[in-house]
Each structure stands twice: as C-alpha cells, then as structure tokens.
Subunit: 114 residues, 2 copies
Amino acid sequence: MKIGYKVWLDNHGKAFGDGPYELLRRVEKRTSLHQAASQMGMSYSKAWRLIRTLEERLGFALLERKVGGQSGGGSNVTSQGKDLMNHYGRFRRDAKRGLEKIYKKHFGSVERKN
Amino acid sequence: MKIGYKVWLDNHGKAFGDGPYELLRRVEKRTSLHQAASQMGMSYSKAWRLIRTLEERLGFALLERKVGGQSGGGSNVTSQGKDLMNHYGRFRRDAKRGLEKIYKKHFGSVERKN
C-alpha cells in the first residue's frame, strides 16, 4: 500500500497543476506550444484553451508570442509564468516529501498485503 | 488563490479515501449500508460494489452483516474497518494541516487577485 495524491492551485477552479507545469516546461525547451502539446499527446487547440483558462484564473499571461527569427515565431513562457513554475516546482517537491512523511507516520507500521 | 488537493490510499488502484470514509461513518451511525448510500445520493448497488472493490484492494473486510434483532439485520463496520477509519481520519487531518502549511510557505506572500 502507498499514498495517492494530487495537488493543484485553485482560484474558482483549477488554476495550475502538474499537467500545466509539464506543458510549460516543454514550451520553455521547444519555444513552441504546438510541439509541447504534441509531445504530451494533446491537440494544439486543447492546449491553447487550457492556457487561456489558466491565465484567466491566475490573472496574468503565461505565454507570450515570439515574433520572427529563423523559425518564424513560436511561444515563450512569460517571466510571471516562469516565476509561477519555480514556486510551483518547489511547492510540489515539498508536498510530496511532506505527504510521504505523514503517510509513513500513520500507515508505515500497517504493512498488510503487498 | 488557495491549495486544492486530494489524498487517498492506493494498492493497485484506489483502496480508501474521503468518499469511502464518509460512507463508513454513515454505516456506523445507521448500521445500514442502504441508508448510508442513500444519504450520499449513491445507489445501494454502487455502494456495495465500491465496498467489495476496496475490500479486495485492502485485503480485509470492511463490513459485516448484522443478523436478526428488531430491525431485522443491517451492516456494521468490522473492527479492522474501524481501525482503518481511525488511522485514515488522523492521516487526513495531518495531510490537510501539512499541505496548508507548505502552500503558505510557497504562495503565502504571492497574493494576487482574489
């Protein structure tokens, strides 16, 4: 037996969580929402709608359009978006550690089957 | 903004969580799975299947049949079930406190809109 959990940020609905965090990490690497979405098996339009919904709930922009250049544009994560990713990444790490410790405290000695 | 989260026990699938915890609490009070399920807007057959699935994943019985008596039977939570409820109740309380503390550490100073 082990702990199962999900954490996210809520502002009248899900405002940020593991899925968006992974999506933005891929946007940062590829400077393309299209490629980031595709890597996660998500359609571009679904990823785009997700980002718009999160931006509304967060109250700031996560992506900015990169104009021109050799590749003819693409998307970058805004500085507020990067700041959120940093906070969320550390929050997620601490939540994992904290929850595993709490689980162990209450169920560590209750090793039943498996 | 606030933290959103869900915690549960996992053993090759969800083995226990808030829903089953509430259901068993109501069974304890009413000594009836039928009434407990109905209070939660769940059909008896759905509640029964849920309990069976959890029992398989946990490896022990959660409910026992209460035979005879004035009310002509009903269901009770087994002592292993009660033990699990106690552990889970404390685990859930600590998880809530721990996560709120971790959230505050990372996002407490980031009060944006709302």
